[in-house]
Symmetry: C2
Subunit: 196 residues, 2 copies
C-alpha cells in the first residue's frame, strides 16, 4: 500500500490558484509553499522543477476537462446548434464551479513557453466537429482552422473579461444568447466562401 500522500493535493490547489491569478512566471516557489503551508523542499518530492509542475498540472487538468466535454459534443444524431449549446454551457459551468482551475488551463496557460497545444484541447475538438459537419454535407466547406479559432475566442473572451472584472455579469447567464450567436457566426462564415 502506498504511503498516504497528504500534502501533494494541497500544493496542487495552491499552485493552480496562484498560477491562475499571477501567471506562472510571477508565481514563486515560496508563494506556493506558503499558500500550501508546506516547506519549499516539499515541491521537489513530487515534481523535478517548478516548470514541469506547471506543465503536468496543465495537461492533467485539461484532460479532465476534455473528458467531460467530448462525449456530448460528438453525439452524431444531435444537430450542430445543440452540440454547440452544450459546449458553451459545459465551459461556463466549469468556469463557475472551478474558477481558478479554468483560468489556469484555458486562460493563463495560453502563453506557455512550449508554444504548443497538447493533443487534446477545446480548439481541437471544435475543429474536428466542424470538419465532421462539412464532411457530412451539413455545412459548406470553409477554413475550419480560422473558424474554430473565432468560435473559441467568442466563447472565451467574455470569461476573460469577467474574471478580470471588466464585466460583472457572469457569462453563464448569457449562455443561450452566446450559443445562438456562435451558431450564427458559423453559418455566416461559411456563406459564399471556398476552402483555401
Amino acid at each position: 500500500m502506498a504511503r498516504p500522500v497528504q500534502k501533494k493535493a494541497l500544493i496542487e490547489k495552491a499552485a493552480i490558484k496562484l498560477f491562475a491569478s499571477k501567471g506562472i512566471v510571477k508565481t514563486t516557489t515560496r508563494d506556493i509553499a506558503q499558500a500550501a503551508s508546506v516547506s519549499e523542499g516539499a515541491l521537489y518530492r513530487h515534481w523535478p522543477s517548478k516548470d514541469k509542475m506547471a506543465w503536468d498540472l496543465y495537461c492533467q487538468r485539461l484532460e479532465k476537462f476534455i473528458t467531460k466535454l467530448r462525449p456530448a459534443m460528438f453525439e452524431a444524431a444531435t444537430p450542430l446548434a445543440d452540440r454547440l449549446g452544450f459546449m458553451v454551457e459545459a465551459i461556463y459551468k466549469f468556469y463557475k464551479t472551478h474558477n481558478h482551475e479554468f483560468a489556469f488551463i484555458l486562460l493563463t496557460a495560453r502563453n506557455f513557453p512550449q508554444n504548443r497545444y497538447p493533443q487534446e484541447h477545446p480548439y481541437v475538438l471544435l475543429s474536428e466537429l466542424l470538419d465532421a459537419e462539412i464532411a457530412g454535407g451539413r455545412l459548406p466547406p470553409c477554413n475550419t482552422a480560422t473558424l474554430a479559432a473565432m468560435v473559441l475566442g467568442a466563447i472565451l473572451e467574455p470569461v476573460i473579461h469577467h474574471r478580470l472584472g471588466y464585466s460583472q455579469a457572469h457569462p453563464i447567464d448569457s449562455g443561450p444568447a452566446i450559443g445562438r450567436a456562435c451558431m450564427a457566426l458559423i453559418v455566416a462564415f461559411g456563406q459564399e466562401d471556398t476552402p483555401q
Copy 2:
C-alpha cells in the same frame, strides 16, 4: 535644440519584439540591450525601470493604433456592417504590417500586472459603437459588455492562432468572411434578449 537621440528608438524596437515573442516577464534587460546593441545602463537613461518601459510602450503604441481605428468606426452615416468590416480590416492590416507591435499591444499585454485596460482600447471602442447602435434603435438592447467581448475574441483569436503557428492562413485573407460572421454574431446575440 535637443541632442539627437539615436538609440532610444532601437531600444524600443528591440524591446517590443522581445516582449511580443517571450512575454514581458521572461524578457531580460540583457536581452533587450543585446538585441539593440546597447549597454544595459542605456535603458535607464530613458525609463526609470523595465516595467515602466513596458507600460509606457504599451500605452503609447496602443494610442497610435486607436488613432487609426477610431475615425472611420464612428462615421455616423455608415451602416454597422461596414464599420465592423473596416475595423476587422484595419486590425488585420496592422497585424500584417506591424507584426510584433500588434502582438505586444493586443496579445501579450493582456496579462499586464496592472490588470486593467487603459482608457482607450478596441474593446472600449466596440462597446461604445454597440451602445450607440442600440441608442439609435438600429439594434435591440442587449448586454453590450459581453457582446463586445465576444466580437473582440472572435476577431483576435485567429490572430493568436496564426502568430503561434497553429494556422498557416493569414486572417487578413479571411477578412470579409470574418467581418460577415461578426455581424451575424451581433444580430443573433440581440434576438429575444433583454438587457440585464
